[in-house]
Symmetry: C3
Subunit: 274 residues, 3 copies
């Protein structure tokens, strides 16, 4: 068992005692699952997206998730206001750039957020993170993303981590988490996770939950991502081939029951320096 | 068995025959659970929040829920319009002041609703109801809430019930329902209910469902609140320590199956005069 | 086994290979279930409703669902923009006129959509489809709907199919799907389907999923509607009388597992010419 695995396992046990409040500005597709995942892991969710209250709400929270799932103009300005306030108060900001690369609105929004808000952790899939890898001082558009997708996720994550001085996570079959100096690989998970909507959003919510109890956002990101991977494995073991409805329910059950020992027993995490 | 318990049990049997339509202006986090809870108990849900249609929709409904979960300017005016129309037509209005006390927007909104709409039942947790207890002709802000939280829920509920001539419910470990003259205490429930998002919102939706079939809103509130408490107990018995995902599913199952006899057998309700 | 049943069964097997992307502009009540139903049947969902991106999103999709569940002014214009773009690109448009007949806003919206967008499939319940049956060049309002409700669903469907040159589906105890020349009747389903919110919305999402892999929208509609009916039957067999929470989970499980053989074995589909 690596030192990193042990640190993650400690966070898993700590969060149920500390019960951080996590502010989510997120989409209406997976918001219920995000709230229940946050509760299941031992934190508390608060969802608020109106520009008249997001600064106050983020001020009483331990972390902020900005999730671009169902973007609209009303909430984009709330995202940026809440993010700036979080920065001012040293509250960590987790960005889930859902669909970055898929439309001009999403591309401009991710670019605006990254220029106006200091983001502490970015978590997305390869296509979304590749889009961010292609961003320059001025956005060059979707085409560059294609080029970046040819790059290796490990190198891509380093480049973005260096550029924005943040933790970058690329989730997929094997998840990569990088702070620019070292990177962790998490080999937990199950293919059914891609057959339930919102498992990515829930993962970002878990990363935020752990970021709410430590300033070591790299370890928080690894913990959140590995927790979802482990929960997916346990969920499949319990629900078997019943279907994705039962699997979905079992993910939340597994998150309810995960603890440091389960994490140590099941975590498939290794770490390397660049 | 008290007379109150018997009256509640009758409502539980009656609702499946009368099938009232319940209009919900609510949040996007727990709205699906609210709709399914309303269906499970034997009523029918309708969700509509645009100012161009809320007056028409409330006019064909038997009760209106105003839930402040994910407030925004667009829906605040819809809430007040629908509430006023409901008042005009003698349709009961149930207010769930989610997060009252947590932001200026929520504080102002709850104050505006209570001055512009005659609310028939308020249901919230101690912190939310305490905030309302601190409201004066002009809002004094969050600070007064702190003072009120020191008061006993039973006295707090009476004070608000008297001031707004409505039923006030404070849900928690033991739930208090007051009409200012008497109060009921409901000791049903399970601690897992606080680990699933939306159990409070669903409770308000159940209170509205029963308010749709009787003018005795006090009994309707006790019935809705006790139904959720009983459902929580049954859900835990069926799902055991599996986790909050299974427990969540079992809440809806228990609401599907609850009837007058189960209510009488399990209801832990007592009543006192002030 | 009819030729139609065989064609439907082929689509059920084909969709898991072709994995079409389905764009949904839908309501916030049942959106999570729609996404999971689309995933379970073998397609991929994308939810996007801002006018600044719907044209781009629909352009990369294989079908568009316009669902009127929680209408508001912001999304109405997005629906029409996306619909026109879909028409331009020959991408099928599926309309779910939720609550048509219940408010002026809904009535005007369904009328506007049908005049500005070429819709390929309409799916609703008898009351909603009857409202559409009463629409003339200028809307005559809700009153005409009453008159139409006296008509037989089979004749009503033909009349609307002829008028709008589209497939019309009226779902209920027995579902009717008409292209104006012939009609199919689907006798699958279970009464519990009306006790879970969103089963209608999910059905429209399934119709869209199959419309994403064939230009024969009549067969696509029959396949989507029968798939939900079959899933409802299997779900009830697995969850028995446990309640609608378990039944809800089992619907998604059944959709995960449905294939051509199950479809052939269980499909209760017949077809007639007018």
């Amino acid at each position: 068992m690596s030192l990193l695995t042990k640190s993650c396992a400690n966070l898993v046990d700590e969060i149920r005692v500390k019960n951080p409040l996590i502010h989510n500005i997120t989409n209406y597709v997976t918001v219920n699952d995000c709230a229940n995942a946050i509760l299941a892991i031992g934190a508390s969710p608060i969802m608020a997206d109106d520009c008249e209250e997001v600064e106050e709400i983020v001020s009483i929270s331990s972390a902020l998730v900005i999730n671009m799932g169902t973007l609209n103009k009303r909430t984009i300005s709330s995202m940026i206001m809440a993010g700036k306030k979080a920065n001012e108060l040293n509250i960590p900001v987790i960005l889930d750039p859902v669909g970055a690369g898929a439309s001009g609105l999403r591309n401009k929004t991710v670019s605006d957020i990254l220029s106006e808000v200091k983001v502490n952790v970015i978590r997305g899939n390869l296509s979304e993170i590749s889009f961010i890898g292609g961003l320059e001082a001025s956005t060059r558009g979707v085409d560059t993303a294609v080029e970046d997708e040819k790059n290796d996720a490990v190198e891509l994550a380093k480049r973005i981590a260096d550029k924005y001085s943040c933790i970058v996570s690329v989730t997929g079959k094997v998840d990569i988490i990088s702070d620019g100096i070292r990177f962790a690989r998490v080999a937990n998970g199950h293919k059914f996770l891609s057959k339930v909507t919102g498992t990515g959003c829930m993962t970002s919510a878990l990363v935020a939950s752990f970021s709410g109890i430590t300033k070591d956002y790299y370890t928080a990101a690894v913990t959140g991502i590995a927790s979802m991977g482990i929960a997916g494995e346990i969920a499949f073991e319990k629900s078997g081939h019943k279907g994705t409805g039962s699997f979905h329910v079992q993910i939340i059950d597994a998150l309810t029951n995960i603890n440091g020992s389960i994490f140590i027993e099941r975590g498939k995490i290794d770490e390397k320096k660049y």
